[in-house]
């Protein structure tokens, strides 16, 4: 098998990535700017033996992909802000029941209906804790159609490995941008499958984990598993009045992600070797930032870019270490300071600067360059 070269939008690339990763079930509800993903899946899934269904809303879409995952399929949905809000309760069910699945959020400008056709990056915090209670998910952020392809595959792999909903936080600009996408030969793409039980049904403990992540028996495999969103013990049975069971469960659900932060960390460093000021960005904003760094470097500013490809779990340790080396951090994002909160938590308020956009447009490299100059020169 040879590699293939395609000309894809980010949305189509993400859908193709999902198919390569083994996605065989998609449930969704149309919403700009993500609809092309559903449309492409409607066309392509049947060709590979998968099921596409357009549900009555996003509550149903999210519930359906959880059900499909327990039916043994790798499953996905795609949406944008308002739909992502509707999915939250069942994302929590996914986290609680440790159901592998992928949710793509092609972010538009909010709040509410906001600017349906225009870019936003303001669902960062919602992606982390949009559902109630303590839990952790994984969120990835691609900055090109190529990465929409690559990171969607990665999202499926991580969902299977960690048994958690993985959110692909795209944005309208990346979703609608067309670029070259290289599809590697099949045998060069790593595909991960969920761990299956190795013991007979009598011995199986559906929520007992040696290494944070339990083995998963799906419906029809003979394990008679009970799965509930109630607080449950290792057998999977409700123990909704026992704080000790709650403690064990919630700690494990969080720690399986938190304690693996280093493994999950995915950062691109650009011109960081001798940098004194670092831009921190992701998604489309990181592309403008890259151009701005180039501009600034040409004019002698020692500035670099830290591009977050994994947004959650946040790389706390990484930033803590950098705090000694880097004088100032400028966070460039299309929201009023969400990733900035995470950065300043780790490096200090006095060192953190924000260049926000409220949504509807992307940063121009020139604006970022001016901000770099301003921060660099000390005001």
């Amino acid at each position: 098998m040879k590699k293939q070269i395609k000309f894809y939008s980010g949305n189509i690339a993400a859908a193709e990535g999902a198919l390569v990763a083994g996605c065989r079930f998609f449930a969704g509800y149309p919403i700009t700017p993500s609809s092309e993903i559903a449309e492409h899946m409607a066309l392509r899934l049947p060709q590979v033996g998968g099921v596409f269904i357009q549900m009555e809303d996003e509550l149903a879409s999210m519930a359906a992909i959880l059900g499909a995952s327990w039916g043994g399929a790798k499953s996905m949905t795609a949406t944008s802000g308002p739909g992502f809000s509707l999915m939250q309760e069942n994302i929590g069910l996914g986290a609680m029941t440790e159901t592998p699945c992928v949710v793509i959020n092609v972010q538009r400008a909010g709040p509410s209906t906001g600017m349906p056709t225009l870019v936003g990056q303001a669902d960062i915090m919602q992606a982390r804790w949009g559902s109630h209670g303590d839990y952790e998910i994984i969120a990835l952020s691609p900055f090109s159609p190529q990465e929409c392809f690559d990171l969607t595959i990665k999202a499926f792999n991580l969902a299977e490995e960690y048994r958690v909903p993985v959110i692909v936080l795209m944005d309208e600009s990346v979703g609608h941008m067309f670029e070259k996408v290289v599809i590697p030969p099949k045998d060069k793409i790593k595909i991960v499958e969920r761990k299956k039980p190795t013991v007979p049904p009598e011995k199986y403990m559906p929520y007992k984990a040696e290494d944070f992540v339990p083995e998963m028996a799906c419906a029809g495999e003979g394990y008679n598993v009970h799965v509930t969103g109630l607080t449950h013990d290792e057998k999977g049975y409700p123990q909704a009045t026992d704080p000790e069971v709650q403690d064990r469960l919630v700690r494990r659900l969080c720690d399986k992600i938190r304690k693996n932060e280093k493994k999950l960390r995915d950062i691109e460093e650009y011109e960081m070797d001798d940098a004194e000021v670092a831009i921190v960005s992701f998604g489309i904003s990181a592309r403008s930032s890259k151009a701005a760094v180039r501009l600034a470097r040409q004019r002698g500013y020692k500035v670099g870019l830290i591009r977050l490809k994994t947004i959650w779990p946040f790389p706390d340790e990484y930033f803590e270490k950098l705090a000694d080396e880097i004088k100032k951090f400028v966070v460039v994002e299309i929201n009023y300071g969400q990733i900035k909160l995470e950065v300043e938590r780790n490096v200090g308020r006095d060192k953190t600067f924000l260049l926000p956009k409220m949504g509807g447009e992307i940063h121009k490299p020139d604006e970022i360059y001016r901000k770099i100059k301003e921060v660099y020169n000390g005001n």
């Binding site: 998968g50 992909i65 059900g67 327990w70 499953s75 069942n90």
Partner: protein, 276 residues
């Protein structure tokens, strides 16, 4: 004296370690579950391929007692969860077991669309005229004038006639019984389980704790007596004519039993064509 613990023929269907259950004395849920287990016993469904999905509520706890793959999901979302489960694994027989509030208030939209699509699943709804789990609030099936904790002056909302909703939405099998009609209920459950497509069985059942005692039926037994005196079997009638009113007759029977292509068949047919 030693008491010999005898096993019950239906033991294998239950998660023995989960018993005693949480339901109140006089509740209709135990009877309904019992009928369901008997129905399973008399159909030859391979239990390995049976999956039970529930939403949230007293009825929703059924999923936790049956010894098959069982999923206790979120309030109102049992049907879309079950839709994903069934479409991902067509070998499964999927049964949704939930309450009137779960399936027709918060989950009403999913019910009508699953029926419209004719997804191959059986939906069993225990209609106790109220939200039992949360202490007896008004629900979408509370009869006019009935008293609930959130209708202290009597209900002023028109209730849904669930069988009418199911039939109008496209269900291929629709039946209603009370929890007193154990044999007929079991037979209907068997028919529903054997039916291809979206089948629906409604069971009117007592909830003495949350509903009965506010409506002059403080025990399950009194409610069963009412069923005995006021149930009228009318097979095959238009379910539109089977509204339920306080103090009125309860029309029960099998109302719909038709054939229609299922979504499942259509989607797998489509896949076959697309793969060629």
């Amino acid at each position: 004296m030693e008491i010999e613990a005898k096993s019950h023929p239906l033991d294998r269907y239950l998660r023995a370690e989960r018993i005693p259950h949480i339901w109140c004395p006089g509740c209709g849920l135990g009877t309904v579950l019992n009928c369901f287990l008997h129905a399973l016993e008399e159909t030859n469904i391979n239990l390995k391929n049976l999956a039970v999905v529930s939403g949230i509520g007293c009825t929703g706890r059924v999923a936790g007692y049956i010894n098959v793959d069982s999923y206790h999901t979120t309030h109102g979302r049992a049907i879309p969860f079950a839709t994903g489960l069934k479409l991902a694994n067509p070998k499964l027989k999927v049964v949704v077991f939930s309450g009137d509030g779960d399936l027709f208030a918060i989950g009403g939209n999913h019910f009508i669309h699953a029926a419209r699509r004719n997804i191959d699943m059986t939906v069993i709804c225990v209609n106790n005229y109220n939200y039992g789990m949360t202490g007896g609030q008004l629900g979408p099936t509370t009869p006019l004038e009935a008293r609930t904790t959130t209708a202290p002056y009597g209900n002023i909302e028109h209730p849904f006639n669930l069988c009418h909703v199911a039939a109008a939405s496209g269900a291929v099998y629709v039946a209603r019984w009370t929890s007193l009609h154990v044999r007929r209920l079991k037979e209907s459950m068997k028919e529903a389980l054997n039916k291809k497509g979206f089948s629906f069985v409604e069971i009117i059942a007592p909830c003495p704790t949350a509903f009965g005692r506010r409506n002059k039926e403080p025990t399950g037994l009194e409610t069963l007596k009412y069923y005995k005196e006021h149930s009228v079997i009318k097979h095959g009638i238009d379910p539109a004519e089977a509204d339920i009113e306080m103090g009125g007759d309860i029309i029960v029977g099998k109302f719909v039993d038709i054939e229609k292509p299922t979504f499942d068949e259509a989607v797998h047919e489509l896949i076959k064509k697309a793969r060629k």
